[in-house]
């Protein structure tokens, strides 16, 4: 890490921002999936 990031293929652990975006994005994707599933009649929310 540190100044080494631009070298060595730039491999480094993700920061919290990227993890947050990934988690929120996955939640959004699953929500959209459920919305589509209900829309096409796969599942029914009552």
């Amino acid at each position: 890490m540190g100044n080494n990031v631009l070298g060595e293929n730039g491999k480094h652990p993700w920061g919290w921002e990227a993890k947050l975006v990934l988690v929120l994005g996955l939640i959004f994707a699953i929500g959209v999936g459920f919305a589509f599933a209900e829309r096409v009649g796969l599942i029914h929310f009552h």
Binding site: G10, E17, F28
Partner: protein, 160 residues
């Protein structure tokens, strides 16, 4: 990679033409960097709009009794587009790093140790933007895959 050292240029009678070459290269680096930055900002503005329009279109299509082929091909096409844009991004980032490193080398040659490229390298000690972009592309790709799976299961179950 350092081609000229400051000793070669200044202390051992290096000619002015080389210094002029280095100056031109330093200037060109700035142009290239600006181009790459503009391109990445362009991706940032165009791609989410594309995803939004595509999701909206998929939503419209899945309500009507449209051909199932379109309902499956749309999310699959969105997934392919996401992969392509992510690959372009992965290609651009090493180029960007290369330019930054070359700029820092040029600054070392002319004994500027606190120039803009050195500062950019320090700033990129934690390159959050590229990780956020990767996470965003992964999430969008999974979104299209989820919709693709939903439509495929609907096709297999014969639900229209």
């Amino acid at each position: 990679m350092i081609y000229f050292t400051s000793e070669m240029l200044f202390h051992k009678g290096g000619d002015m033409a080389k210094i002029e070459d280095l100056r031109n290269e330093y200037q060109q680096l700035g142009y290239h960097l600006r181009l790459i930055a503009t391109f990445r900002i362009g991706i940032l503005s165009v791609f989410p709009a594309l995803v939004g329009a595509l999701v909206r279109f998929m939503w419209e299509v899945s309500q009507k009794e449209t051909g199932l082929l379109l309902r499956i091909l749309l999310p699959f096409g969105g997934f392919i587009a996401t992969v392509i844009v992510a690959l372009v991004e992965r290609r651009i980032i090493p180029l960007y790093d290369l330019l930054i490193r070359r700029g820092a080398d040029l600054e070392e040659i002319v004994d500027i140790h606190d120039g803009i490229y050195h500062r950019i390298i320090r700033l990129l000690g934690a390159p959050t933007l590229r990780d956020v972009a990767t996470a965003f592309f992964v999430a969008v790709g999974i979104l299209f895959l989820v919709v693709f799976m939903v439509q495929t299961v609907a096709l297999m179950k014969g639900i229209f």
